[in-house]
Amino acid sequence: MSGHSNWPEWIYVAVVIALMAWVGAEAWEAERLVEHVPADAKTIIVTGQQWFWTFEHEDGTKEIGELHVEVGKAYKFEIVSTDVNHSFNIHDYVVLIDAIPGRVNTVWFAPDKVGEHDIQCREYCGLIHYNMRGTLYVTEPLS
């Protein structure tokens, strides 16, 4: 580096650092928005176990492998596991969080259209991991 100036490289490094700062800021902002759980979100307890999902609604009704939610409401999932690690995923609604035994992880979403979506496990959990699937039914509000 002695004597000879290296300005193209310095400009390049400055541009890279600026880009990374931009990526970090944008990501931070988006994460802040999606992590904010609405105050009136209804809680659904999701239990992952080899190799199926169980859902418990606030009123105590339980579903296995199927989840019925209503359009226009916010739901907060509290995800637990009874055996090994799983990962609760509704890809169409970009919902994902691991189910770790001994921990309660939360994630929320607000379905906005009637429809059916796949629920799957994204963390390797053994023999039937590939088929640890369920279905999300988004329905019109009953009341």
Binding site: I11, A14, A18, L19, W22, V23, A25, E26, A27, E29, A30, R32, L33, V34, H36, P38, A39, D40, G72, A74, D92, Y93, V94, V95, F109, A110, D112
Partner: protein
């Protein structure tokens, strides 16, 4: 130097101000919920736009270089280091 400073300033205004604006505008009205798909995929597409822009510059440079500085190129000439001990 002035140019870099001005450039960063413009980028700063263009990017940071709307982002901060957006951050403080996010309200918490009951019944109106954030669409997480929109936020996340929007971020993804923004980053892909930048990634593909930078990527086309970088790989374009590499492809052009590979074409221009190959030894069989008509204008190829020995580098100033050839035949020396470097």
């Amino acid at each position: 130097m002035k140019f870099i400073f001005g450039f960063l300033l413009i980028i700063g205004v263009l990017v940071i101000v709307p982002a901060v604006d957006f951050a403080f505008a996010a309200g918490d009205e009951p019944g109106k919920y954030l669409d997480r798909r929109a936020v996340i995929w929007n971020l993804f597409y923004k980053m892909m736009t930048v990634a593909f822009t930078v990527g086309s510059v970088v790989s374009g440079t590499i492809i052009w270089q590979v074409w221009r500085f190959r030894e069989s190129h008509p204008k190829a000439k020995p580098t100033s280091y050839e035949g020396t001990d470097w």
